[in-house]
Symmetry: C2
Subunit: 201 residues, 2 copies
DNA sequence: CGACGTTTTCAATCGTTTCTGAAACTTTCG
DNA sequence: CGAAAGTTTCAGAAACGATTGAAAACGTCG
């Protein structure tokens, strides 16, 4: 096995992860930077990233900053070195929790707020009554909004129980649900289990 | 209340939903079309959509097709009318299940497959041994890949239990978890007040 | 069967987002 | 304090995905 096969695998991982990122509305480069930090597992500095990913300094800097904001990458200082190094969160579940937390905060919460506003916009104000004609439509309209709101409220709850300090809760629940769903066996143990997913229909 | 206030609310909903879509990697227009169908609740034809959303015929057609593929919009035929009409799935949970199913199929499953390949790429082949130098790095590299794979496997399980015919399972679980989440003193509650959805019961 | 209304496709265009590179800024150290 | 090293910002350039509009395909009806 050639000694640089790890590097090749890393490159491939970076590409794959970057692609996934862009499918989920995250800038490709940001995902790539994260991928690189995650897969190498060790702290890298801006120049390392620039060189390895062939991107500009500005881009590298911005992406790093964003990852820091997301809380899935942390600064590392080395004694006797003025450079800053960066290291990715190593625990996949912690990483995912951070992502969920941020996306809820940035996208779902504002969305909920807007939906409430829209709901209020046609909500009956005190002492005012909708015209007879509009009544049914309005009711149905508001019912649909409410259903959406209810849904997002539930989602909020789920996400909180996942994200919270005691958030391992969902990790456990996920496993239980996993069993229900597909009989997916996953237990502790670093052994290379390449268990195939069994469809349960 | 002016009779067109529903229309105004609909427009606003369309805008909000479209924005959300693009934040999650769905084309804005497609999300808008869906929003329109959902919020009006009744079947619309291509021309209705073109006019209301001010988009081209081609765009409307493509977006409709995509929504059909996602399984969150269905064709409706009207007797004595050659046009095709389209109607959005009305049940929020069913809609969300369809979305999860599709995104898993299109994005997560391929990702998993790729990760397996990458894993195999450096996996020890029979009778071959990694050079001593690379040993530790390789082990750590593969461990990180495995963790990711394990995670996605669990995710797959959760999603299956959600998506499957008996998928109401997660709906119930979600509510339970939601309660837990609400009860748990979670970190500085972002903006989770205003939880006054009217209960029908 | 040919004409008409409707839907689909696709190359060209347009608009948005991302990326670059250089300048401005900040921090550290002699 | 000033120089050196590092980081951030930002206007313009490039890349990418979305959108259009016209033409082809489809299916129906007289």
């Amino acid at each position: 096995m050639p000694p640089n096969s790890i590097k090749a695998a890393q490159d491939r991982f970076v590409a794959v992860w970057g692609q996934m990122g862009s499918a989920w509305g995250i800038s490709r480069t940001m995902a790539e930077v994260h991928a690189l930090l995650y897969i190498t597992g060790e702290p890298l500095c801006t120049d390392d990233i620039m060189e390895r990913l062939q991107i500009s300094r500005g881009n590298a800097s911005m992406s790093m900053r964003a990852l820091l904001d997301w809380g899935i990458v942390e600064r590392v200082h080395r004694r006797g070195d003025r450079k800053e190094y960066f290291k990715a969160e190593g625990d996949v579940w912690a990483m995912f929790r951070a992502i969920v937390r941020e996306r809820m905060k940035r996208e779902v919460d504002p969305l909920r707020a807007q939906l409430y506003e829209i709901r209020d916009q046609t909500g009956e104000r005190a002492g005012e009554r909708a015209p007879r004609d509009q009544g049914a439509d309005l009711l149905a309209h508001n019912r649909r909004l409410d259903e959406l709101l209810r849904f997002f409220q539930t989602l909020e709850g789920v996400s909180n129980s996942f994200v919270s300090p005691a958030g391992r809760g969902l990790q456990a629940a996920a496993k239980i649900l996993g069993y229900i769903g597909g009989g997916v066996g996953n237990s502790a143990g670093p052994s290379t289990e390449a268990t195939d997913t069994k469809e349960a229909g």
